[in-house]
Point group: C2
Chain length 380, copies 2
């Protein structure tokens, strides 16, 4: 038995809601296990009746059946265990238990003292609307493709899309710094092309390059892109690390909007009985990470998310989270203009429509296709 | 249709092996889909018979049944598509398809030209053995716990463990920089305690603090720990970002061994039909990331990995991967000394035994318990 410990804690707790598989007894065992695994990871019997047992241990606040084989556990943790850091917060919410079957993190609620530790998105929905001068309508986005296509031709795609009124023209997330897609040349050419189109149209389209590469060069890459005239950054939190993205959002020298990409992140949501819910991952966690818009696969496209899961994501992007701004849902993944009417029902106006490959079907008339896309979006 | 593109590619390809669910037709569809989704992410019909179609498209090299409802696909990609960068390589191997059900990355093989882009672990098995002066026996490791315990008392645990001959005394991965576990004080105290014990014993035990915190401070934290006398670093790739860990391994100013922690990473392996295999994640990818030893939950502990999965991990830590060094499997997660005989059968001598909580059962006699642990390990 350890000697008793006295800690000077605030008493404030953060709360995580998990779904647990199994009957009531199994769910209770899993909930008890989470309380230990996510905190002391130590034999509970060796801890006396002290502040560690009373406050550091996770605490089951509620355990409710959802069905005979699925329970919802509400577990709280002392706010101090988060260290007021993003990495430790994610570790606390879903670190070791990510390795255990039958535990899914559904959502979380933080006290204001912890939300205040994070700046969240620099722009958020309203900031991005101001920046792009789009007060109310859905925002349009497309992607520059395909990998291997020459940069001069890719820049012409960017020009055509901007001419047709696409607001955000982003790199495909597979464009890194390959010999056939050199980063600096790509940014230079695409920035120039979009600026040229903006001069003709009077629009404020922006180009968002994909920011990837060695972790110790990532800020330099982003700075270079900004100097060259990029209007924002595409970045994949699971590839670059969630806190690397947070550090970009917080960096005053950068000061441009971020769009999150879901690459390498699908494993968190793919099993309904484990991982992290769509809403928590693409919505809540993304807001703490600090992206202003977050891409996820829309229902009915090339991926398998349901309409309800997508609605859950969009709701989590706007739900109250202290001072953390709302962000734009950016449903993509095999979308086309025929889906807009249905997407309007699900997402309303506060959405960033991402249509990629489908805009290229008439590849000699990208500007015309883009104009049709824009006209549809303006009908809202 | 796009105009034809001519690319100056080497013809070298890297290979990824995926397991796909479904019958033959479904598996073929999934394999075809991977070839596009992971590369051009663009309507294939718009690409002419050019170098993009011929080389940038993923290529199905083989498709073999494993059962009526599971197929193994071998898919190759042009080495240039990786950009010779870790983040883009992971994106290429398992980026968007992480979001698709029924696709599991089992293993990969890279050409030497791509292995050469990575340094891999700085020490590896032989380097860590030299550093610790342990030519042949298994290496012993324990963790400082529980969260909330005062740093002075935690340092005394470290002293006792070192006195008893534990080679690596690491932080529990939940110790960040909380008010009750301040990073600098913790490192100072634990380094001093282990050094004092080493003076008494003549051993070379080392203390490995958990390196976490803001991405833009992580190298500074590691440098501080090294200056204070830390002997290595514990780090969780899924929390900090795989390439952040790679940048630490490559950093000559740090030059200390890294131990990987599986926190927040379990979602990749938890579903047998999706994600990444245990061997690829904890073995192959960890070696590219550059950890010298990697922690994973042993079979028969608090987690659910099978003996075969653990054997697969250990094999992947030693399989040929160009010049990339072998690393130590560090099975943990509810281990105790009674498990050593069985673990010896599975892992042989080239293993890092991680026993945490179980060593504290007789908390007034940690050194004695540690000596028993060491005696058992020396019997190999």
């Amino acid at each position: 038995m350890l000697p008793p410990t006295k800690l000077n804690l605030s008493g404030e707790r953060l709360t995580a809601i998990y779904h647990l598989t199994g009957d009531q007894a199994e769910a209770r065992t899993k909930a008890d296990d989470i309380c230990i695994e996510q905190t002391i990871e130590f034999p509970a019997a060796l801890v006396p009746d002290d502040d560690i047992r009373g406050h550091i241990f996770g605490r089951i606040e509620d355990l409710q059946p959802l069905s005979q084989e699925r329970y919802e556990a509400t577990i709280s943790y002392a706010v101090e265990t988060s260290g007021f850091e993003l990495t430790q917060l994610f570790n606390l919410l879903f670190g070791n238990i990510s390795i255990k079957p039958g535990v899914r993190l559904m959502r979380f609620e933080l006290p204001d003292s912890l939300y205040k530790a994070f700046n969240g998105p620099r722009f958020g929905q309203s900031g991005l609307r101001s920046l792009l001068n789009i007060p109310t309508r859905p925002i349009l986005c497309t992607a520059l493709k395909p990998m291997g296509h020459p940069m001069s031709a890719m820049a012409d795609f960017a020009y055509q899309f901007a001419l047709g009124g696409i607001d955000i023209i982003k790199d495909d997330h597979g464009l890194a710094n390959q010999q056939f897609a050199p980063f600096k040349e790509r940014v230079e050419r695409c920035v120039e092309a979009v600026a040229r189109a903006n001069q003709e149209t009077g629009y404020r389209s922006i180009y968002m390059p994909n920011i990837t590469g060695p972790a110790d060069q990532i800020l330099d890459n982003a700075r270079l892109a900004k100097e060259l005239g990029a209007g924002g950054f595409l970045i994949a939190p699971a590839l670059m690390g969630p806190d690397t993205v947070r550090s970009m959002a917080d960096n005053d020298d950068l000061g441009l909007p971020l769009m999150g990409h879901p690459s390498f992140q699908g494993s968190y949501v793919i099993s309904p009985d484990a991982g992290v819910s769509h809403a928590a991952l693409y919505g809540q966690m993304a807001r703490l990470v600090g992206v202003d818009a977050n891409i996820f696969p829309n229902y009915g496209g090339r991926f398998s998310f349901s309409r309800e899961e997508c609605q859950g994501i969009a709701a989590a992007m706007e739900m109250p989270m202290g001072h953390i701004k709302s962000i734009f849902p950016s449903p993509g993944g095999g979308m086309n203009v025929d889906r807009i009417a249905d997407m309007r029902e699900v997402y309303g106006r506060d959405v960033l429509y991402l249509i990629g490959g489908a805009l290229y079907q008439d590849s000699d008339n990208l500007a015309k296709t883009a104009r049709q896309f824009r006209a549809l979006a303006e009908q809202v």
